[in-house]
């Protein structure tokens, strides 16, 4: 389910079945690596959208967590999100990102961090884009099902 009125309506009817929140972490900056960060944010967005299509009945795709690169406050902000989500019905929280700097904060987060190197999809033909992303999504899917089976 997505953060959209129609999906929220569905969520409210079936909240007990939706126990997993997914948050794409999207960096923003205006320095030299602006483009790189845009690629990361875009990739995290595409991946999670595809993921949501497969598992829409059990995961809630949050609007992206957007942060300015180099701001120390972002970890604190994310922790707030996490606490709020875990307080509510959610049992699992997943973060999807291409920004490697989250790796060092992994221990400070209760949810699972899924880091994937971002692929630049800019210059690829559509068909290739789709199959590339599908492969990545497939690998993510099994991580989710494993986590669910653990309980």
């Amino acid at each position: 389910m997505k953060w959209m009125a129609a999906d929220v309506e569905m969520y409210q009817k079936a909240a007990e079945y939706v126990d997993t929140a997914v948050i794409p972490l999207m960096p923003v900056s205006f320095g030299d690596d602006m483009k790189q960060h845009a690629t990361m944010a875009e990739f995290a967005g595409i991946l999670t959208t595809q993921l949501e299509k497969q598992f829409r009945g059990r995961i809630f795709l949050m609007p992206g967590f957007v942060y300015f690169k180099g701001h120390e406050g972002s970890l604190e902000g994310l922790r707030n999100w996490e606490n709020t989500l875990l307080d509510k019905q959610f049992k699992h929280v997943f973060y999807v990102t291409s920004d490697i700097s989250w790796r060092q904060h992994e221990k400070g987060l209760g949810g699972s961090l899924l880091w994937l190197p971002s692929l630049s999809l800019d210059n690829l033909p559509d068909q290739q884009k789709v199959s590339l992303v599908d492969d990545q999504v497939k690998q993510l899917l099994s991580l989710f099902t494993e986590k669910w089976q653990e309980g």
Partner: protein, 168 residues
């Protein structure tokens, strides 16, 4: 052949009707075309979407087929990918099932749950469907998988809009 003399009056009559006829046709033809065109268009595949699957390749084992279609959302058109599970049932008829779980809309897979072979399995809440798409009572889904109407054209499978069925 006898020589037939054409009078000036006759000659002018012929040429004028000829030229007038051409002009009238030039004006009317596009109008007729415009009027008839929508009818001609409705005749080809209708709302059926082509899949890359050859009808001859369909077996008794469900196989996954992806097809793309354009979806129009209030502001923009997007290229969406649809999926169908296609197989032949015992009667030899082609069955195309929608992969969308009737519980909360996850995507079901064929034969992926080891405990329940040869069934459609939903990984989200462990919903199960028989091969013909009937939901297994006791699992979360309350209705059978939707069915696509199918059609064959030039050897390829075409699917229509998925239709719901009544619950088991």
């Amino acid at each position: 052949m006898s020589k037939h003399r054409v009078s000036r009056r006759q000659f002018l009559n012929y040429t004028l009707t000829g030229v007038g006829g051409f002009m009238a046709a030039g004006m009317l033809m596009p109008m007729v075309r415009f009027a008839v065109d929508p009818m001609l268009k409705a005749e080809d595949a209708g709302d059926f979407i082509a899949t890359p699957l050859k009808v001859a390749d369909i077996t008794a084992e469900p196989q996954k087929v992806n097809f793309s279609f354009t979806q129009k959302d209030a502001w923009y058109e997007s290229e969406e990918t649809g999926t169908a599970w296609v197989f032949k049932n015992e009667a030899g008829e082609i069955v195309a099932l929608s992969p969308v779980c009737k519980h909360l809309g996850c995507v079901v897979d064929w034969n992926t749950d080891k405990k329940n072979p040869n069934m459609f399995f939903c990984p989200c809440h462990y919903g199960l469907y028989e091969k013909d798409g009937t939901n297994v009572p006791g699992t979360p889904p309350l209705a059978p998988l939707d069915v696509y109407p199918t059609r064959e054209k030039d050897g390829f499978l075409y699917v229509g809009k998925a239709e719901p069925r009544k619950g088991a």
